[in-house]
């Protein structure tokens, strides 16, 4: 496959201009990368109308459409790839060599990547109820990321750390994880929680202190409860109760983490106020570890980066949430804290 194609992935919600690319353009949306994608994808399986453009596309470097599909069938996808390759081989030489459109984006969330900060890659996976030595992990898992600036990362370590010292992680950093990462997202994207819907804390215990390394143990609990306030887009799980445990090593000379692992084990409930004897619907786990800054696939932006209360996150001229179809929704979204 790599012999015949160059491979690329990207996030389609931004590329397609949100719900409707016509409204995106009417509102002044003019990101060249998005416009180039929309022009190419308009010739694909979903046509030129608004709505999703999810799928797999084959195009020439010039952006000339060759083939596309959005299918769950490996055979159908394979056939489409062969069709696209055939169309490429039949292209006149001048079309094959035509240069790509400028397509230089006005904004990408990756531009807010916190160099030298704490960048965590998250795996979320449903957990089995019963444990046995021969048990296979649940096959449903998903990834996401959590970003913290260098200044925020340093707040995980107490000033003048000493062995045995207990330190509470600042609430805004705990809430970032609780609202945007400790979600029922092993099966796919899901909604997030309002700030007043999460309750819990993260504690750091200093295990050892050396000039080149401060080792810490992280523990905590978190409860997220979907209340009466409206959630826009996808709704989060009614209730998730989480236990957290992790370990890290911070280099005080370079002011960055050299290792970091955090495990969350959660119970998901179908109601916001489960009865005392009510069993959870399912169990879920999250694993956070340092992302590799040298791997492009580890520099993907967190799904909910747009909602971070962080001045270092650079936002686009038009946020796709501004293009909600109902004025009342836009008003309500702007009121959410």
């Amino acid at each position: 496959m790599t012999e015949n194609f160059v491979l690329a992935t990207d996030e389609v919600w931004r590329l397609q201009g949100g719900y409707d690319f016509n409204k995106y353009r009417a509102a002044g949306g003019d990101d060249p990368e998005c416009l180039a994608f929309q022009d190419m994808a308009a010739q694909g399986h979903y046509g030129a109308g608004g709505g999703t453009k999810q799928g797999i596309y084959v195009c020439a470097p010039s952006g000339k459409f060759l083939a596309a599909i959005n299918s769950l069938s490996p055979e159908a996808v394979k056939n489409m790839l062969e069709s696209g390759l055939d169309a490429w081989n039949k292209l006149p030489e001048e079309d094959r060599r035509a240069k790509p459109p400028s397509a230089k984006p006005n904004h990408r969330w990756e531009w807010s990547y916190p160099e030298k900060g704490l960048v965590l890659k998250q795996t979320a996976r449903y957990l089995r109820e019963e444990a046995s030595k021969d048990q296979q992990p649940d096959p449903r898992f998903n990834f996401d990321f959590a970003w913290f600036s260098p200044e925020e990362a340093a707040q995980l370590i107490p000033d003048a750390p000493s062995v045995g010292q207990q330190h509470q992680v600042p609430g805004n950093l705990y809430r970032r994880l609780a609202r945007y990462n400790l979600l029922d997202n092993a099966h796919g994207e899901t909604g997030t929680y309002h700030a007043d819907e999460v309750l819990g804390k993260l504690m750091v215990e200093v295990l050892s202190v050396e000039p080149e390394a401060v080792r810490i143990r992280i523990s905590g609990t978190s409860t997220a409860t979907a209340g009466e306030a409206e959630h826009f887009g996808l709704s989060p799980a009614r209730r998730i109760q989480v236990d957290l445990l992790g370990f890290g090593e911070f280099d005080p000379r370079e002011q960055k983490f050299r290792s970091f692992e955090l495990v969350g084990k959660g119970k998901i409930y179908e109601t916001s106020t489960p009865k005392p004897d009510e069993k959870h619907a399912r169990m879920i786990g999250w694993y956070f570890a340092l992302a590799d800054p040298d791997r492009p696939v580890d520099r993907i932006f967190p799904t909910h980066l747009r909602a971070y209360d962080a001045p270092w996150v650079k936002k686009p001229k038009i946020t796709l949430q501004d293009l909600q179809s109902k004025p009342s929704d836009r008003k309500k979204m702007n009121q959410v804290k």
Partner: protein, 93 residues
């Protein structure tokens, strides 16, 4: 979303003739109803984090933006295979 992602994973791996065996790493057995403790931390971690066999598709040389894909395709004189989903395919979808 996870269903399409799973199918794409299977397609890409089959096309490469990789085996996608979801092997189980031998780890100390753990009572999953037990609280999260220092003693069982590694067991829980190993139950959650992705295995190498589950990450084969991420080892392919993916460009992570549409524009970068077009530029690389032009440099390589090859067509671009672009995979797009709600949520970046390399993140949460």
């Amino acid at each position: 979303m996870i269903q399409l992602k799973t199918i794409c994973l299977v397609v890409f791996c089959n096309l490469l003739c990789f085996e996608t065996a979801f092997g189980f790493q031998e780890t100390e057995s753990a009572d999953q109803s037990a609280a999260l403790t220092d003693a069982n931390f590694a067991t829980w971690r190993d139950q959650i984090r992705a295995k190498q066999s589950e990450l084969v598709w991420q080892q392919l040389p993916w460009e992570t933006t549409y524009r970068d894909g077009l530029l690389q395709a032009s440099a390589a004189d090859k067509p671009l295979l672009l995979w797009v989903m709600n949520g970046h395919p390399m993140g949460c979808t």
